[in-house]
Amino acid sequence: MASIPAPLRGVLPVLLALVVLAGLQLFVGDLPFFVYVSSLVGVNIILAVSLNIVNGMTGQFSIGHAGFMAVGAYVGGKLALEMKDLAIAGLPSAASDQLQLLASLAVGGAAAALAGFLVGLPSLRLRGDYLAIVTLGFGEMIRVIVSNLEVFGRALGLSGIPQTSSFMMIWAWVFLVVLVARRIQDSAHGRSLLAIREDEVAAEAMGVDTTGYKVRAFVISSFFAGVAGALFAHFVPIINPGSFTFVKSIEVVTMVVAGGLGSITGSIVAAVVLTLLPEVLRSLFLQVGGLEGGAALAQKVDQIRMPVYGLLLVILMLARPQGLFGSREFWDALPRWWTRFRRAAP
């Protein structure tokens, strides 16, 4: 890797990932259930990793992530609805669909980022637990606002958004958010964020503009939350306020905490597991329990989901507050030569 010319290091991984994903896309194209579930997983990963930038790296505590997701979903979705009948001339329809999708993702993300900026600027001066409550409040307010606006379909929500999202698009963004998080970690900016997490006063005294950094972390995090929301709006046939409640925020928090605050890999693993667990258990019960009892059990799976999330949080905090991975990454556990090898290429 050290042999890679410096200018290429930036984009090469992205290109590689895109090629790989394009390849996969060809295979999964006609597996609707797999695609749908993997989309849910992907979106949750994006949410968890982006939240981890704030909650894990910067040590702030936001429990309003669903609010930013909502902003992205609604703004992106609305734009997509407006562009629905348009198509980019001279391109195969699918390609123009994807470009339009990109556009609405970008806009959705930007809107969420703006929201993040507006919320962050004042509230990030607040202490940890107060900030938590304020972000929660913000999330709730978004819900109230949306359910009041005719343009956003009030309680019924927005439907008819072109379902142009695809396995590849979602996982490309998953890759992107992970890459961004990694590179922040390995940069001076990331170190400043970590410093804030470790000791805000000291960081401030060492010339770190704590408020500024916190706001920036918040903006980046909400940008990706917005993108996740916009993606969501492009594979879920209808979005309505019910999908972006406090409960959703806590789901994401659970993922981040379970994975380990500050550990990107942790967030990914947790997001995957927590999203798939209900699916797996359900089919398992159906397998073993036969149709009658099995179906009943399978229902219970959905019902106990939320209480289980709650218990999970409690147990984690008591037994393993640092989460699955602590703030380490899985490659920290890899043999020495690998770490040295990574050093060679920062």
Partner: protein, 394 residues
């Protein structure tokens, strides 16, 4: 940024190549590719899928509906099932969220290979389901989603209840012609599309008929203090209040309205219909009016039997949700019996031809827009029961 955008744009084009086939077969979407039709011969059971919200603040609605369907299926199996096959149901919980509803439907359609899906009370969730069922060409019947948009999704989506516009019209007409009201206030549930839809129609119709809407207040599902709204309404001095909400809140609203000295009649829709209304509202709900699909004290033996059986099975008088869900299952089963075979296509066609199906909630005839055309009844809340007042035809 630019580099990334460029890169991802490249992705888009690559994908375009990857996508042609996909977008050729069917509109893109979670269940784009039509799943292989289930082999009817496989085993001697036929599987029906259900999606309802069994947790969260709407759980009670989901549970009622599920009970209704269970009953219909039991009866059908007792009567020899369909084409000698036993009917099985598979229920998934969507926790009241559209994404979960779509997920569950995808699962039913692709994994469980059901022949048709029944589902959802909340229109948002039904729409989510419809967008999965339609491209996969699986017939879907929604029992109680009254928002017109649901069946507009496509020709595989049906509904066995009347739609918001009609129900709103019914109450507006009743308020104007029978109750002779001039000034009406509206108290709607901000979180329920059902409530929003009814409000819009009622407001329009009522004003068209020369009445006046003097106040519109809102609440949220799960609230339990409505005094602020009611006091504000009182200030507007209406001679009737339209509350297109669900019984969970309506009961409490009625109590508090009386407590605040509001004596004018309250009016609502089928969302009121549940025994819970009496438990929560006590004597305060008596003398108010609601539009509904049927009247539980309809003397016809079919209704009597249903009510009795349901009581026996679940220990309560069936509410509108349970009743219509029962009819939905009934229509589905009847169609499966009529259909030449149990392929999704022929079941769909059979459902489409449903005419004068003797449902408990009134006879069901599906129009070309796949909505049920049926009269609505207006009921008056009495002591622990709903008294029939009048029937209003479309």
């Amino acid at each position: 940024m630019r580099t990334l955008l460029a890169a991802t744009a490249a992705a888009a084009v690559l994908l375009g190549a990857g996508c042609e086939k996909k977008s050729a077969t069917a509109p893109a979407g979670p269940a784009a590719a039509p799943a292989p039709a289930p082999a009817p011969s496989a085993g001697n059971t036929v599987l029906i899928g259900e999606v309802f919200s069994l947790t969260g603040d709407k759980a009670t609605f989901g549970i009622s509906s599920r009970n209704g369907i269970e009953m219909a299926v039991k009866e059908a199996n007792a009567a020899g099932g369909v084409k000698g096959k036993k009917i099985e149901t598979r229920v998934y919980d969507d926790q009241g969220k559209p994404e979960e509803a779509a997920n569950a439907t995808t699962r039913l359609v692709n994994q469980d290979q059901v022949v048709l899906v029944l589902g959802e009370v909340a229109s948002s969730n039904s729409i989510a389901m419809a967008h999965v069922a339609q491209p996969a060409q699986v017939p879907m019947i929604t029992p109680t989603s009254t928002n017109p948009k649901v069946t507009e999704v496509g020709d595989y989506i049906f509904r066995v209840c009347f739609i918001d516009p009609f129900q709103g019209f019914v109450m507006a007409k009743f308020a104007r012609d029978n109750l002779k009201l001039n000034k009406v206030a509206v108290l709607r549930d901000l979180r329920s599309d059902y409530s929003t839809g009814l409000t819009d129609v009622f407001t329009r119709k009522f004003t068209e008929m020369g009445g006046k809407i003097v106040a519109v207040e809102t609440y949220n599902q799960g609230d339990s203090d409505f005094r602020g709204q009611l006091t504000a309404i009182k200030r507007a001095g209406p001679d009737g209040i339209y509350i297109p909400g669900y019984y969970n809140e309506v009961g409490v609203i009625a109590k508090q309205a009386r407590e605040l000295g509001l004596t004018v009649p309250l009016m609502g829709g089928d969302g009121w219909d549940s025994e819970k209304l009496f438990e929560l509202g006590g004597s305060a709900v008596e003398g108010h009016y609601l539009s509904n699909h049927y009247s539980a004290d309809d003397p016809s033996p079919r209704v009597r039997k249903f009510v009795a059986d349901y009581k026996a099975a679940y220990g309560s008088v069936p509410d509108a949700l349970a009743t219509i869900a029962y009819d939905a299952a009934g229509v589905a089963i009847a169609a499966m019996r009529r259909a030449p075979d149990l392929s999704r296509k022929s079941i769909r066609d059979a459902i489409a031809q449903t005419k004068d199906y003797p449902g408990v909630g009134g006879s069901v005839t599906l129009d070309e827009r796949r909505n049920a055309v049926k009269p609505a009844v207006v009921l008056k809340v009495g002591k622990g029961k709903f008294d029939y007042v009048t029937t209003i035809n479309p």
